[in-house]
Structure formats: structure tokens, C-alpha cells
């Protein structure tokens, strides 16, 4: 073995404890979950068959997908506008903008959900102001439904949409925009045919991040949904803790992991994930 070989073997040894820890406490339990999904209550594919035969399983999946897609679309739209504004802002303003994006990230998801309840409920700030101003005569149903859930989730997700888009927009050479203007393009044309295509990797990365994150949402739908909307994460907890139908619960958990891996695989064909999530850049 030459010198460099020995050095790299040393580095691998350093990683070994972390690797063993991961295998013992992360991968092994996941394999166990996978095993239970095939063996409880009886061995076979019975639990997975439910995806095709059980209306309630299908509905939970559809509800989750619908809410996640809407959340992702809205977060991207809002996030893109913010990232665009930050990119074009002066360096001083940039700092403040970033702070404004990051501060909500540090507030607990629970606190934020309750804050939305306070704002959106029947006698909440929004309804009271609208009624006081004479715009509406009856309180609007702003919470305890999917609308409330999506408001809460988008609010949580916007920073996660902004950050990857911002990093990709920063890489766009401003001289290209100036050149396009110099060649006679209007502002809109510059945006549409130069800036937008160049920022596309960021949009895709943000979409993957937000979508995958949304799939596992638990607290926000539980608090803002008024008990009438059930997403996958809460459904799994219901099966495992209360109904002790572990086979079904672990089946759905496995499906969730598979959905995330598939999403990642699909997007990794389109964009270079390693670059987007920070390594090798």
C-alpha cells in the first residue's frame, strides 16, 4: 500500500464509528419496519394490497399528495419572488432580507401553527377586522379545513424554497442580463429568456426539498385541520399507537420512504443533486 492509500484508509477508520452508529440505530430499525410491513398480521403482501383495494388508504395518499403539491407550488411562487428580490437588492438590504427569511425558520412549528389559529379562527384577527370593516357579515371559514393547513404549511416552507433558489440565482452572471438589455430585449424578455432558464436548477432543487419535507408533515395539519384532514404521518401514528395495526402503519411508512427515494431519483436525473445540496460545489 502506498502512502496515499494508507492515509485514505485512516480516514475511513475515522468514519467507521459514525457508520456503525447509523447502521445500528437507523438502518436496522428501518429494515425492521420493512419486515413488519410484510409479516403483520400475517406474512404476505396483504398490507400492500390495501393500496389498491382500500378506499381509505387511497384517500389518505391522495389528500397528502394534493396538499403537498399545492403547498410546493405556492411556496415556489412566493419563494421565487423573494429570492429574485434578494438577488437584485443592494448588499446592505440583502442582509436584512436574509434575516427576515431565516427568522421564521428558528420559530417552533408548534408556535407558528397556534399563531395561525389565533389569526384565522372565527373570532380571530382576520375575521374580526374584516367584519369590523364591513367587508363580510359572517366569519369566513379560514381554519379547521385544508385552506388553513395550506396556509400554515406554505408559511413553514417558504424559507426552504427561498434558500436553494437564492443560491442558484447568485451564480447567474449579472453581465448576461446587461448584455441582453444591450441587445434590445425588454425587461420581461430578459427575465423570461435569460434569468428564468438560468435559475431553473434552483427551482427544481427547491421543489424537491419542499415536496419531500411536506410529505411528512404532522403537527401543522393536526392543529390547523380541525381533525377533518388526515395526512400520511398522522395516519401512521394512528395505526401504530392507537389501533395497533402495525402492518398497515409500517406499510405506509415504507411507502413514504419509497416516495421520497423515487422523488430524489427522478430529480437526480434532471439536475445534479450533489451540487444543489452543497457538496462538490
Amino acid at each position: 500500500m502506498n502512502d496515499t492509500g494508507r492515509v485514505s484508509a485512516g480516514w475511513w477508520l475515522l468514519i467507521l464509528p459514525a457508520f456503525l452508529l447509523l447502521v445500528a440505530f437507523y438502518i436496522a430499525p428501518i429494515l425492521q419496519v420493512l419486515a413488519i410491513s410484510f409479516t403483520d398480521p400475517e406474512p404476505g403482501l396483504g398490507n400492500y394490497e390495501r393500496i389498491f383495494t382500500s378506499g381509505s388508504v387511497q384517500r389518505v395518499i391522495m389528500t397528502t399528495l394534493r396538499i403537498c403539491l399545492i403547498t410546493t407550488a405556492l411556496s415556489l411562487l412566493l419563494g421565487y419572488a423573494i429570492a429574485y428580490a434578494i438577488t437584485l437588492a443592494s448588499p446592505r438590504a440583502k442582509g436584512w432580507w436574509l434575516l427576515a427569511v431565516l427568522v421564521p425558520l428558528w420559530i417552533s412549528v408548534l408556535v407558528r401553527a397556534f399563531a395561525w389559529v389565533t389569526l384565522l379562527r372565527r373570532q380571530g384577527l382576520v375575521n374580526n377586522s374584516l367584519m369590523g370593516a364591513g367587508v363580510i357579515s359572517e366569519p369566513l371559514p379560514l381554519v379547521w379545513n385544508e385552506f388553513g393547513i395550506i396556509v400554515g404549511m406554505v408559511h413553514y416552507m417558504v424559507p426552504f424554497a427561498v434558500l436553494p433558489m437564492l443560491s442558484s440565482m447568485r451564480e447567474i452572471d449579472p453581465r448576461l442580463l446587461a448584455a441582453a438589455r444591450g441587445l434590445g430585449a425588454s425587461r420581461w424578455e430578459v427575465f423570461r429568456s435569460v434569468f428564468l432558464p438560468l435559475s431553473k436548477p434552483g427551482i427544481l432543487a427547491a421543489a424537491v426539498l419542499v415536496f419531500i419535507f411536506s410529505l411528512g408533515f404532522y403537527i401543522t395539519p393536526a392543529i390547523l385541520g380541525g381533525g377533518k384532514t388526515l395526512m400520511v404521518a398522522e395516519w401512521i401514528s394512528l395505526q401504530i399507537l392507537d389501533l395497533i395495526r402495525w402492518g398497515l402503519g409500517t406499510m405506509m411508512a415504507t411507502m413514504l420512504v419509497v416516495a421520497i427515494l423515487v422523488t430524489l431519483a427522478v430529480f437526480s436525473r434532471i439536475v445534479d443533486l450533489r451540487r444543489i445540496f452543497g457538496s462538490g460545489g
Partner: protein, 369 residues
């Protein structure tokens, strides 16, 4: 989903913080859940035996440790009872028993879970040579796989200011959106909800079981657009307090709090309320063996601590001798007071144990549809 027990501890802590009860009462009441000295003859023979009781609240550790540990150790030399407040959900009991390393002796559970787990051979049967059936209520409180040292009830609670011409008198009125308009509040769990729906469908409360799952679930689905659903006791209280709902099915402990807080504007009624057993279960292969049965027996046998629990948390006593010991001014909120018990319907834990999985899955499906 928050359980009743979890909610009680939360409620007690709040009362304590507001100064509504003193520390002594708090500790006494918490300890009442597990207090009682049991015969020490055999205990003394086996040196240093330990029992682990599992409850739902973080308070129990400090409460039980101070108040309960010392006197118990004195009464039963060689025995100690530890409190574990990590929450014995059915799923956690299953995973503990199946892993083969059981560390729990007595768990605060429910009638339906006792049947569900018992059927899967995950619980010890209650030994009724040790636990005395006559120490608790006759129907539904002493089961094959669990017995109840306390009771609670799901009552109809409403904001009387919203109904100046007289409030609802039963579940029929609860479902009558024409006569009593406004948002309804139900628990996001089928137990007690389908029972109420069955009464609203006109079935005789004396002959309520078996419930018609399809019809009752459909009955709930009828009002779901005008309803919100609670998962934790504090949530149920908040929905009614803030006027998000005008009428709800909530635990009597929360209803009495609202009643007191609003000087009776928010009322609740005992007629047709669903009286339930606070069932304790013993995981299969528990380390303390028979000791757990005897701890349970003593909890059922001693009425005084049960009254202490009512004073603090509102849980009803189950010992037949306890009701008479309850101070006059507390009787209105004791679910097992003969006056109140007579008007309620005792939930059939056995029917629920056999049907909970299917009924609850259908129920959750219907309300989230």
C-alpha cells in the same frame, strides 16, 4: 391522540399553577391514582421488590416520588412503587411485550385497549381472587384483562348563551342543526361518539349495544361539515371557550372547568352521558408478577384516595363506598355519584374491545372524507 389520563394530569398542573389547589392536595390527588398499602406478609418475605406504574403525565414522577414512595415503603417493607410517566399507549405496550423485556407492571389504559391487547395475548389476566370485584362498579369496570380504580364520562357540553330558549337535553338535540344551529365539537376517536350517535338515532339507551357501526358513522358524517374534532382535552376546552363550537361531546373534567370559569354560562348535562371505566392493565410477563395484581387490588379497595383524586382531577371514584365520602359541594361533578350515574349510560367496554379497530377506522375515514 391524547388519552383521558394524560389530560387529567395536565389539568391538575394548571389548577396548581393558578393556585386553585395547594401542593399537598396536588400530590395527594396524584398519588391517589396508585395509593394504597397492600398486605405485607408475602411482601416482607420477598426482599426488595419493585413495581413500576405507568401513567401519562410528567407530573406523576415528582408527585408520586415525594408523597407515595415514603409511606408505601413504610407500610410494605421491602416493596417500592416507581412511577413512569412515558405514556403506556397500546402500541408501546405491544412493542415492550414483544421485545421480551417488560419493565412495566401496571399501566393506565382503557377498556377497548385491554380487550385489543388481551386478545393478542399481550396482557396478564386480572386475578379476581386478589382483586375484589365488589370493590368496583358491577358492569364494565372489572374486565378480564383490566380493572378500573376511577371513572370518567363523555358529556354533552354547550354554551347556554347561544340558546336563550333552552338548551339541548340529549343527543337527538345535539344532532338537530335546525333547532340548535352552530358548530359541533366531537372527539376524533369513535368511542363515545358512535354511542351518542346511536342514541340520536333513537335507540333505547338501556339497550344500546351492539351499536350499528354503519348507521352511526353515517350519522356522524351527516354533521361533519358543521363540526370540528378534538384530539386533546385542552383543545376541546379551547374550542368551546373561544366560541369556535357551540356544543360538544367532551370529558366531564373539562366540562366542569368550563362551567366554573364561565359561571355556568357553559353548561353540561349528565343525562345520556357515557360513563367509562379508567382501566388499568398488566403487561404480559410483568417483572413484579403478582405484586401488580395486589397493587391494583389496593387501588380499588381504598375509597379515600379515590375521593382525593376526584377533588384534584375530577376522576370519579369506583369503589361503591366512595360516593358517600364525597363532600356535598363536589357531588355535582362526580360521574359515579348515584344521582348522576343513574342518568348516564355505561359504555360497553367489551363491545368496544371487539369492534374498536374497525369502528374507529370507519369513523376516522368518515370525518376526514
Amino acid at each position: 391522540m391524547q388519552s383521558f389520563q394524560q389530560d387529567c394530569v395536565e389539568l391538575a398542573l394548571r389548577k396548581f399553577r393558578r393556585g386553585e389547589v395547594d401542593r399537598r392536595t396536588l400530590l395527594a390527588g396524584l398519588a391517589a391514582l396508585g395509593v394504597g398499602s397492600f398486605a405485607s406478609d408475602e411482601a416482607a418475605a420477598q426482599a426488595a421488590r419493585k413495581l413500576v406504574m405507568v401513567n401519562w403525565g410528567g407530573l406523576a414522577n415528582q408527585g408520586f416520588g415525594n408523597f407515595y414512595g415514603a409511606p408505601f415503603a413504610a407500610a410494605n417493607p421491602g416493596w417500592t412503587v416507581e412511577q413512569d410517566s412515558t405514556g403506556p399507549s397500546a402500541g408501546r405496550i405491544r412493542s415492550m411485550v414483544e421485545s421480551g423485556r417488560v419493565t412495566w407492571d401496571l399501566c393506565d389504559s382503557s377498556a377497548s385497549s385491554s380487550f385489543l391487547l388481551g386478545r393478542q395475548n399481550l396482557l396478564e389476566k386480572i386475578n379476581y381472587d386478589i382483586v375484589k370485584k365488589e370493590d368496583t362498579l358491577p358492569v364494565g369496570f372489572a374486565l378480564e384483562y383490566g380493572a378500573a380504580p376511577y371513572s370518567f364520562s363523555s358529556v354533552l357540553c354547550y354554551d347556554s348563551a347561544k340558546f336563550p330558549n333552552g338548551g339541548p337535553t340529549g343527543w337527538k338535540d345535539f344532532w338537530d342543526l335546525q333547532k340548535f344551529p352552530g358548530t359541533r365539537l366531537l372527539r376524533r376517536d369513535a368511542t363515545a361518539m358512535l354511542d351518542a350517535a346511536q342514541m340520536a338515532l333513537g335507540k333505547d339507551p338501556k339497550n344500546l349495544y351492539p351499536l350499528d357501526i354503519r348507521a352511526t358513522v353515517r350519522k356522524v358524517a351527516d354533521i361533519r361539515r358543521n363540526a370540528v374534532f378534538w384530539s386533546s382535552g385542552s383543545e376541546s376546552e379551547q374550542f368551546l371557550r373561544t366560541g369556535e363550537a357551540v356544543m360538544g361531546i367532551i370529558w366531564h373534567t373539562r366540562a366542569t372547568v368550563l362551567h366554573g370559569e364561565t359561571n355556568g354560562r357553559i353548561k353540561f348535562i349528565w343525562p345520556q352521558a357515557l360513563l367509562q371505566a379508567g382501566i388499568m392493565v398488566i403487561p404480559k410477563g410483568n417483572p413484579g408478577g403478582e405484586g401488580a395484581q395486589r397493587l391494583l387490588a389496593s387501588m380499588l379497595h381504598n375509597p379515600e384516595p379515590q375521593v382525593g383524586l376526584l377533588t384534584l382531577l375530577g376522576n370519579g371514584p369506583t369503589n361503591p363506598r366512595a360516593a358517600a365520602l364525597v363532600p356535598q359541594d363536589l357531588r355535582w361533578k362526580n360521574p359515579t355519584d348515584p344521582e348522576n350515574a343513574r342518568e348516564q349510560v355505561v359504555m360497553d367496554g367489551e363491545w368496544w374491545g371487539a369492534n374498536y379497530q374497525r369502528a374507529n377506522a370507519d369513523y376516522v375515514d368518515a370525518i376526514t372524507g
